[in-house]
């Protein structure tokens, strides 16, 4: 069952220097209990996509067109107050940097209980009980003591667990996780991914996992969308997409992951850098960096379905025999 579906979403920032099309015609959907990976480099529009779903895009940015359907209801149509009531309750978000997301001068229990009390008419005691249980669910030992702590008394991994617990508090239908493990070391990262995945399955929560790390996606996501310069260039089931990338950009990303098989050889890199979204030329945004690019690429490629459950935005997809150099 589809919980969240994003259709032709466009979020633009109207700056003095010009219009930045941070999210440009993005569509995807997530089913209950599934994890969707949203992959891309810095500045590809992943985080803005997340904020657009949450209704947290600040001026000068705004959603220009498109729909965000949460269980059939179009979120951009909601009033600010109706949206506020959904946030943290039906749809929650985990941020990238656990050091910054918790308020340094408020105790953990305050920050957790207020999330419950903002959405439900329950007593403070039952709010505390819910907070305690949520801490237990994300694997925090002795939650009663942690509740009384201040954020600076906890480690980075602990803080991210607390932030995850806050997102889980009201059993949301959708959680948007914006690179939640990037700031953590690998062992903690693996623990948190394991726990979040388990919880998503148990509670039927749909997850959008935003990351630049394909190896995280490989072990976590059911489906993947690859974003480049505000557009989804390729999507499909994780295993299929990683084994048979069709877009040259996806292929380049996979080739740049360090691996032991390539010991001694220089690591592959995609030439050039992400284009400035302010001066985006018409046509395929990747063509300046693409080995396949030719004159056709000056037209914008439309979305095609080269295989079942796969989508692609490219005129010259990778062939099965092609070696990435």
């Amino acid at each position: 069952m589809t919980v969240l579906s994003v259709e032709n979403l466009k979020t633009h920032f109207f700056t003095k220097a010009g219009v930045v099309k941070a999210v440009d015609d993005v569509s995807f959907s997530v089913d209950a209990g599934k994890v969707l990976g949203l992959v891309g480099e810095s500045g590809s529009g992943k985080t803005v996509t997340g904020f657009s779903i949450m209704g947290l895009v600040d001026p000068p940015g705004r959603i220009v067109s498109g729909r965000v359907l949460l269980e059939g209801h179009n979120l951009p149509d909601h009033s600010d107050d109706a949206m506020r009531k959904l946030r943290g309750d039906r749809i929650a978000m985990i941020f990238q940097d656990p050091m910054m997301t918790l308020n340094p001068v408020l105790r953990i229990d305050t920050q957790m209980m207020e999330t419950v009390l903002a959405h439900r008419a329950v007593s403070r005691d039952s709010a505390r009980e819910l907070a305690r249980n949520a801490l237990g669910r994300v694997g925090i030992p002795s939650p009663d003591e942690r509740l009384k702590a201040y954020p600076h008394q906890l480690s980075g991994g602990m803080r991210q667990r607390v932030a995850s617990a806050i997102a889980l508090l009201n059993n949301p239908r959708v959680i948007i996780a914006d690179e939640p493990t990037t700031a953590l070391d690998v062992t903690i990262q693996a623990q948190i991914i394991y726990e979040v995945q388990k919880l998503a399955r148990e509670t039927g929560t749909a997850m959008v996992w935003i990351t630049h790390d394909l190896s995280v996606i490989a072990g976590l996501a059911d489906d993947v969308c690859v974003m480049y310069a505000g557009r989804i260039v390729e999507s499909g089931p994780t295993a299929d997409l990683l084994d048979h990338p069709l877009h040259p950009y996806t292929a380049g990303l996979i080739a740049s992951i360090p691996s032991r098989n390539q010991r001694g050889k220089p690591l592959h890199q995609i030439p050039g850098m992400t284009p400035s979204l302010l001066r985006l030329k018409p046509g395929c945004a990747f063509r300046d960096r693409c080995p396949h690019a030719d004159a056709v690429c000056e037209q914008a490629p439309e979305i095609t379905c080269p295989a079942p459950a796969r989508t692609l935005r490219c005129f010259h997809p990778m062939t099965a025999l092609e070696e990435i150099t």
Partner: protein
């Protein structure tokens, strides 16, 4: 905690010693009080007698030693001009000044912090720009001129408020205060507002810049993602974070309000300590000047101590126990 306070007391004793020595030397350098106090027709013998009676025939260091010897018993000398203990003279005038300063500080906080918050949350709105423009006037217009204009408008043209004096006073725990009866309040209003104007502008600017900074922090965005109402985000998450610099400034400025209420007291003929100090300097009444400065130093020390204690309440990362010697 005990260590902290003990160290503070020792530091303040040193500060008091240094201040008293500086004032002693300073007043000594200005001139001989006998020249001002004594009848111009007095002969040489009379002058010598008066000089000896006040102890002014001794060398400076002997006079200073005598002063210290008495000071440890709480006796800061007798006023030359009024033949009363200097401390008693100051304490008689102190309630008026403290009341004025407290009232001014109250005006500044009650108006300044909310106005600063408003201007910080919506910095581009017309009302925010009006507030900021007003605060520039508050900063740059000289206090004495504003005081005179207030008297012109409210006392001379409109006739709403009395221009001078303290009005009827009521006894509160044996201390005469103005704010408990209507006549006193009408007398208090104008000088308090006049004295508050500068601090009000300062607090507006401080609160605004703190708010603007805090509103961009991840924890505010996370609080929004939790679906908290704006009231709570501003009133708890933002306000508690920006209170630390505000409390510092309020503490420091409260001391200076008491110490330097001189201009306002002079304009509105408010019978406070500032007026007493000006009169004493005019007649080189050294014991009163020294006593005044020492009392002000004590006041600053106490205020700073209170501010430090408040810090530990506001910011969990500041723990006084950690501030070991």
């Amino acid at each position: 905690m005990v260590v902290f306070i003990t160290r503070r007391v020792l530091q303040s004793v040193i500060a008091l010693l240094v201040m008293s020595a500086l004032i002693f030397i300073g007043v000594f350098a200005i001139g001989n009080p006998i020249d001002i106090l004594i009848n111009p027709q007095a002969d040489q013998a009379e002058i010598a007698r008066a000089t000896a009676a006040l102890g002014l025939d001794q060398p400076m260091w002997v006079q200073y030693w005598e002063f210290l010897r008495h000071a440890v018993t709480g006796d800061l000398g007798r006023s030359f001009s009024q033949n009363m203990p200097a401390v008693q003279l100051i304490f008689e005038r102190m309630p008026a000044t403290v009341e004025l300063a407290l009232c001014a500080m109250l005006f500044a906080i009650v108006l300044g912090v909310p106005l600063g918050l408003v201007a910080g949350i919506k910095p581009d709105a017309w009302y925010s720009k009006t507030i900021m423009a007003g605060s520039i006037f508050g900063f740059s217009l000289p206090t004495f001129w504003v005081g005179l204009m207030m008297i012109m408008v409210f006392s001379v043209y409109l006739g709403w408020l009395p221009s001078t004096g303290r009005g009827h006073t009521t006894q509160l725990f044996g201390i005469p205060v103005s704010f408990l009866n209507w006549d006193g309040i009408t007398h208090l209003m104008m000088p308090a507002l006049n004295l508050a104007l500068f601090k009000l502008s300062l607090l507006i600017r401080l609160t605004r810049s703190g708010t603007r900074e805090a509103m961009l922090q991840d924890y505010v965005k996370f609080a929004r993602a939790k679906g908290l109402p704006m009231r709570r985000i501003v009133g708890v998450h933002v306000l508690k974070n920006i209170m630390i610099p505000i409390v510092t400034v309020i503490g420091l400025e409260f001391g200076s309000l008491i110490a330097f209420a001189i201009v306002t007291e002079t304009i509105f003929a408010w019978p406070g300590m500032g007026k007493l100090l000006i009169d004493s300097i005019n007649v080189l009444d050294r014991p009163v000047i020294v006593a005044y400065v020492l009392i002000i130093v004590c006041l600053f020390v106490i205020i700073n101590l209170v501010v430090d204690l408040l810090y530990s309440m506001l910011d969990p990362r500041v723990r006084l126990a950690e501030a070991r010697a």
